[in-house]
């Protein structure tokens, strides 16, 4: 038994699903902080409330973010978590690691922290869970000297994140991992020294499956796609049929644009009508593949519900090429952020700002033409603005 009795938490060691309680207990071997974390958590379970204070402002010299200050509101009862800050380590693109790298990360963490981690945080960071203020500089020195930097927090560019993409996926239309590496490097200053009106997140998915939830969880969502035709391997179509797939029912009938036909032998696609939703490709991966003229759709604005309800990102640029050195896309992103940075009120995300200002000022600032692809449908009311410039045309 640990330092505290934890009957309720113990209950959660039962059952087949891996138990976070077991992890907490394992960590007690590394650090007494984990004991107090367990104890305080048990108390939360008993009383149905948390015992943490509002986030603190702690960090490392020269950076304005990357560490979340956390203090127990009952430190006398649980002194081990009086300070219990988290350190956000910038994960690798695609969350790829070697055993060696992870062990190094563990070694340092055991030395200075609770022995607990989140692999990974929702934004993408490798989160080290629980340390004290005095250890922060050491932790940073140890990691950074070994090539690992802090992720982000505060009103800053947040740690960009992406799906596995070309690393292990046949549908990746863009190199999500490389681009994420590029953009992370590009925005180092903006990540580490918060100077934006509020947080700004970039997530990059290789295709419309959106395996990194870019469209729902990033202010700037990049989603790979193609402009030309779906590649079809008719022999494989036949194979699927032979194996008993109901191609008509599972594929053709579910195509949202009704642009496919199947005559029992071959699949034909009217690519002009295809909206590249990925359904047919995803369900017939051997037979159908994205086209070859690849690039990405850029969307903006997703966020969680506070203040005026959740937003999904809105299409801004229907198609843009995404080849290294990523000049055009980087410029566009900068223009988008600059407009937001110059215009937003404090704590106003870009999606909220667009709701206030409309799309036009952003389109103009980033030099993006209005196109029907940006809307599900045109406006309904007969109220709309005219600029003097519209009259010249």
């Amino acid at each position: 038994m640990g330092k505290y009795e934890t009957p309720m938490l113990d209950e959660l060691e039962k059952g087949p699903w891996p138990s976070f309680v077991t992890e907490l207990k394992k960590a007690t071997k590394v650090s007494p902080m984990a004991d107090d974390e367990l104890g305080q958590l048990e108390k939360s379970f008993q009383t149905k409330r948390g015992y943490w204070k509002h986030g603190g402002i702690v960090g490392v010299l020269g950076y304005g973010g990357g560490v979340i200050g956390r203090y127990s509101s009952i430190p006398d009862e649980f002194p081990g978590v009086a300070h219990f800050h988290t350190v956000r380590i910038n994960q690798t693109s695609g969350f790829f690691y070697t055993a060696e790298a992870l062990r190094m990360i563990c070694d340092i963490w055991d030395k200075y922290g609770s022995g607990l981690t989140n692999m990974h945080g929702s934004t993408g960071d490798l989160v080290l869970l629980g340390t004290t203020t005095e250890n922060l500089e050491a932790i940073f020195a140890e990691y950074s000297s070994r090539g690992w930097d802090l992720g982000s927090s505060g009103s800053a560019m947040r740690t960009p994140s992406c799906c596995v993409g070309m690393g292990r996926c046949e549908w990746a239309c863009i190199d999500t991992m490389d681009f994420t590496y590029h953009i992370t490097q590009h925005f180092q200053d903006e990540m580490h020294r918060p100077a934006y009106p509020y947080k700004f997140k970039i997530k990059t998915a290789g295709c419309a499956c959106d395996c990194v939830a870019a469209i729902a969880r990033a202010d700037l969502s990049i989603i790979g796609t193609w402009k030309d035709k779906i590649r079809i391997d008719q022999a494989e179509v036949k194979n699927y049929a032979d194996k008993g797939m109901d191609i008509q029912g599972e594929i053709i009938d579910l195509c949202p644009t009704e642009c496919m036909v199947y005559d029992g032998g071959e699949i034909k696609i009217n690519d002009v009508e295809c909206n590249r939703c990925m359904h047919c490709i995803a369900k017939m991966t051997k037979a159908l593949r994205p086209g070859l003229d690849k690039g990405a759709t850029i969307l903006v604005g997703a966020k969680a519900p506070i203040v005026v309800g959740s937003l999904l990102s809105w299409v801004l640029i229907p198609f843009i090429k995404m080849d290294p050195p990523y000049e055009e896309i980087t410029e566009k992103i900068e223009a988008i952020i600059e407009w937001w940075d110059d215009t937003a009120k404090p704590r106003e995300r870009i999606g909220e700002l667009i709701e206030v200002k409309g799309m036009r000022p952003l389109l103009e600032a980033a030099d993006i033409p209005p196109v029907p692809q940006q809307v599900k449908e045109p406006r309904k009311d007969p109220f709309f603005f005219w600029a003097e410039s519209d009259f010249d045309k």
Binding site: G55, G69, T133, Y196
Partner: protein
């Protein structure tokens, strides 16, 4: 509750050293906080603190960093209107150091 003692008066501060009541602030408070951090407050440091203080008194909110840097650029020259300069002055960052020295309420949320 932790306290900060300045010239015989004792000020309540939170675990991170932020004043518990921004109204109690005096220049001495800033000096004492800086001293704890081993920082000598130059005129340039005071420029920042005074702007923060006056902005807060006017609007009751801390300025966004970009407002602060714009102000610095305007008043003291373009080369001072950026975060680099701010972090040179306040290595722990404007929120953690400058706002604290200026006695502003601890920034919340958004971490």
């Amino acid at each position: 509750m932790a306290t900060l003692d300045v010239e015989g008066k004792s000020y309540e501060v939170d675990e991170e050293g932020y004043l518990m009541d921004w109204q109690e602030w005096t220049e001495g408070v800033a000096g004492a906080m800086a001293k704890e951090d081993g920082l000598d407050l130059s005129a340039e440091h005071w420029n920042v603190i005074k702007f923060l203080r006056s902005y807060f008194e006017k609007y009751q909110i801390a300025p966004m960093i970009k407002i602060l840097t714009k102000e610095l650029a305007k008043e003291y020259g373009k080369e001072k209107g950026n975060t680099k300069y701010l972090y040179e002055l306040y290595p722990a960052g404007p929120a953690k150091q400058a706002c604290r020295y200026a006695g502003l309420p601890k920034p919340t949320g958004c971490v």
